[in-house]
C-alpha cells in the first residue's frame, strides 16, 4: 500500500494508456449506440409515414361523428372512441383506488412476513401474465359467473385486473421515494401513522402515482386480446348508454377494418390508428409532464 501511494507523487511513468486509443474507444461506443437506436426509430418512422399517408385523407368530421358502416365512405369511429372512453373511465375508477390502497397497505402497514411476501410475489407474477389470460378470466368470472354479459362493465373489470399490478408497482415506488426525513418530521410532531400518510406521504407520492396510473391507462387503451376474448363487438352502430350495454373499442375497430377485403377499409384503419396514436401520445405527454413537475417541486 505504502508503495502505491508513493507512485502518486512521482510524475506519471506508470500511466501508459494512450489517450488517442481511449478517445477512439469512446467514439466507437457512441457510434455503436446510435446504430442500436436506429432500427427502432426507423421502424417507427416507416410505420408512422405509412399510416399518415394512408389515413390522413380520411380523417374528417364525418369520420369522428359516424358509426361503423358497410360502406367505407359512411363509416366512422364514433362508437369505438366513445367505447374506449367509457370503458377507461370505469377501468380507472376501479383500478386506481384499489391499486393505490394496496400500495399504501403494502408499503406503510404490512409487516415483512410470509403473507406480504406471498402478495408481492403474486403481484409480480400478475404483471407478467399474458393479457389473453385476463380475457379468459374476465369471460368466466365477469361475463358468465357475475352475469355482466359482454358489456362495458365486464370489459372495465377485466382491464382493471390487467393494469392493477402496474398501478400497484408504480404507486409503491412513488411511496418509497418519499424522503424518510419527512416521515420523521411528521412523527416527531406527534402525528399518527395515518396523519403522516394522509398529509405528507400521499401528497408527495401523488404525481408519481398519477404517472403510473396514466401509463397503465395507455397500456389498457391499446389492449385488444382480452376484449376480443370477452366478446366485445366488432360492429357497433350505437353508443353504449348503460354500463351493461355492449360496446367496441379503438383497437378492435381497427382490427375489424384491417380484416376487410376492400382497400378503402384499410385507409379507415389507418385513420383509426392515427386517432389511437394521438390518444396515446397525449396520455404519455401528460405522464412526462407530471413526472417533470414532481422533480422540480421538491
Amino acid at each position: 500500500m505504502a508503495e502505491d501511494t508513493g507512485t502518486l507523487g512521482r510524475s506519471a511513468p506508470v500511466f501508459k494508456a494512450s489517450m488517442q486509443w481511449r478517445r477512439l474507444k469512446s467514439h466507437f461506443f457512441v457510434v455503436l449506440g446510435l446504430l442500436s437506436v436506429l432500427p427502432g426509430i426507423v421502424a417507427l418512422l416507416v410505420l408512422l409515414v405509412d399510416v399518415i399517408v394512408q389515413g390522413s385523407g380520411w380523417l374528417d368530421w364525418q369520420f369522428f361523428t359516424s358509426f361503423d358502416s358497410r360502406f367505407p365512405e359512411r363509416a366512422g369511429i364514433k362508437a369505438a372512441l366513445f367505447g374506449t372512453l367509457y370503458m377507461m373511465v370505469f377501468t380507472m375508477l376501479l383500478a386506481v383506488p384499489i391499486g393505490v390502497m394496496t400500495a399504501i397497505y403494502l408499503e406503510e402497514y404490512a409487516g415483512d412476513n410470509w403473507f406480504t411476501q406471498f402478495i408481492q410475489v403474486n403481484i409480480a407474477n400478475l404483471a407478467g401474465v399474458p393479457s389473453i389470460v385476463y380475457g379468459l378470466l374476465g369471460l368466466q368470472v365477469f361475463v358468465r359467473m357475475m352475469e355482466m354479459g359482454r358489456s362495458v362493465l365486464a370489459g372495465s373489470c377485466t382491464m382493471a385486473l390487467l393494469i392493477l399490478p402496474i398501478i400497484i408497482v408504480a404507486s409503491r415506488e412513488a411511496i418509497r421515494a418519499v424522503p424518510p426525513s419527512m416521515r420523521e418530521a411528521s412523527f416527531a410532531l406527534g402525528a399518527s401513522k395515518w396523519e403522516t400518510v394522509r398529509h405528507h406521504v400521499l401528497p408527495y407520492a401523488l404525481p408519481g402515482m398519477l404517472t403510473g396510473a396514466i401509463l397503465a391507462a395507455a397500456r389498457a387503451i391499446g389492449e385488444t386480446a382480452p376484449l376480443i376474448t370477452i366478446g366485445a363487438l366488432t360492429f357497433v352502430p350505437f353508443l353504449p348508454e348503460h354500463p351493461l350495454d355492449r360496446f367496441t373499442v379503438l383497437p378492435i375497430q381497427i382490427f375489424n377494418w384491417v380484416s376487410r377485403a376492400q382497400s378503402e377499409f384499410h385507409h379507415l384503419a389507418a385513420a383509426g390508428i392515427i386517432v389511437l396514436l394521438v390518444v396515446l401520445i397525449i396520455l404519455n405527454s401528460v405522464a412526462i409532464y407530471l413526472r417533470q413537475r414532481l422533480r422540480t417541486r421538491y
Binding site: M182, E184, A191, S192
Partner: protein, 290 residues
C-alpha cells in the same frame, strides 16, 4: 437525598403531599452534585437493540428540568439512539427492542398504556438536517398543532412559534412562501418553531447545527439559551466548544470492547470540561480520540 419532591404532571400535584413518594431510583450517580434540579426526563437502566445489535447499554441519566444537557461522544457511540429513545422514534425502525425505562415527568413512556404518538407531542425533536415540509411556512407550523387538536387562534400560534424561534422578523412579510425557500439556518429555526408550536415539554436536538455555517450556528445557540427558560433541552453535538458554550450539563458516552453505548460520565458542563473524573472523558474532550 432529593430535596425537591418529585413534581409530577400538574393534575397529580395535589396528591404529592398526601403520598410519600418513593423515587424510582433512590441513588443519584456519584458524580452528580446534590443540588441538581429535579429531572424532567429520567432514563433508567436503558438498553436498546437494533435486531441483535446492542447500540445502547444500561444507561441511567437524569435530565434536569429547563436546562440544556449536551450529549457528546465519538461517532457511532449511540448518542442519536439514546436521544431517539426519549421520544420513541426508534420504534419506527423494525426490529428495535428496548429494556429499562424512560420517565417523562415520572411516567414511564414505554409503559403499555402509553401511546408513542402522545409521547412525541410532549417530546419534540429537531433533526440534523433541516427537514421542513414542502409547504408554506404557516402550514409547517400548523401541521403539528392541527393534528394534535389545537383549538385556539392559528395566526397567534404561528406568530408565537416563529417569534419563539427568532424567525418572525425574517419571514413575517410572507408566511405563504415555501419552507424550502428559506436558507439552511432559517429552515432549522423553522423546524424549531414547528416543534415548539405543539407545546412540548422537552426538546431533543440531534446535531442541529452540523449543517449550518458559524453565524447560523451562533443564532441557534442563542435561541437555545432563550428556549431553555421554558423547555428541557437535550442536544447531541460533535462540537466541544458548542457543548461548552451552550449546555448546563454534559453527558459523555462511549462504545468500547465490553459494551456499546455506555454512559461514562455525567455532570455540570463546567465540571466535566475542567475536571473530568474519568480519564476517557478527559482523553475525548482534549481531542486525543474520537
Amino acid at each position: 437525598m432529593i430535596k425537591v419532591p418529585f413534581t409530577k404532571a400538574k393534575e397529580e400535584e395535589s396528591t404529592v403531599e398526601a403520598v410519600v413518594r418513593e423515587p424510582v431510583s433512590t441513588e443519584l450517580p456519584k458524580d452528580v452534585p446534590a443540588e441538581m434540579p429535579d429531572p424532567a426526563v429520567e432514563v433508567n437502566n436503558f438498553s436498546l437493540w437494533y435486531g441483535d445489535f446492542q447500540a445502547v447499554t444500561d444507561v441511567s441519566i437524569k435530565f434536569p428540568r429547563k436546562k440544556i444537557t449536551a450529549v457528546i461522544g465519538p461517532s457511532g457511540c449511540g448518542k442519536s439512539t439514546l436521544l431517539r429513545g426519549i421520544n420513541r422514534m426508534n420504534e419506527l425502525i423494525g426490529g428495535v427492542r428496548t429494556q429499562g425505562n424512560v420517565l417523562l415527568e415520572g411516567t414511564d413512556i414505554y409503559a403499555d398504556t402509553v401511546d408513542p404518538v402522545e409521547v412525541r407531542r410532549r417530546v419534540g425533536m429537531v433533526f440534523q438536517k433541516p427537514n421542513p415540509f414542502p409547504r408554506s411556512i404557516r402550514d409547517n407550523i400548523l401541521f403539528g398543532a392541527r393534528v394534535n387538536g389545537y383549538q385556539a387562534d392559528e395566526d397567534e400560534l404561528v406568530e408565537a412559534a416563529l417569534r419563539g424561534a427568532a424567525l418572525w422578523d425574517e419571514v413575517n412579510h410572507d408566511l405563504k412562501q415555501s419552507g424550502l425557500a428559506l436558507s439552511g439556518g432559517q429552515q432549522q429555526r423553522l423546524c424549531i418553531a414547528r416543534a415548539i408550536a405543539v407545546s412540548p415539554e422537552v426538546l431533543l436536538m440531534d446535531e442541529p447545527c452540523s449543517a449550518l455555517d458559524p453565524i447560523a450556528t451562533l443564532k441557534i445557540e442563542d435561541l437555545m439559551r432563550e428556549l431553555a427558560k421554558d423547555y428541557t433541552i437535550i442536544i447531541v453535538t460533535h462540537n466541544m466548544q458548542q457543548a461548552a458554550r451552550v449546555s448546563d450539563f454534559t453527558a459523555f458516552m462511549l462504545s468500547d470492547d465490553t459494551a456499546r453505548g455506555k454512559l461514562i460520565e455525567f455532570g455540570p458542563t463546567t465540571d466535566l470540561f475542567t475536571n473530568p473524573t474519568d480519564e476517557r472523558t478527559e482523553a475525548y474532550i482534549t481531542g486525543r480520540f474520537g
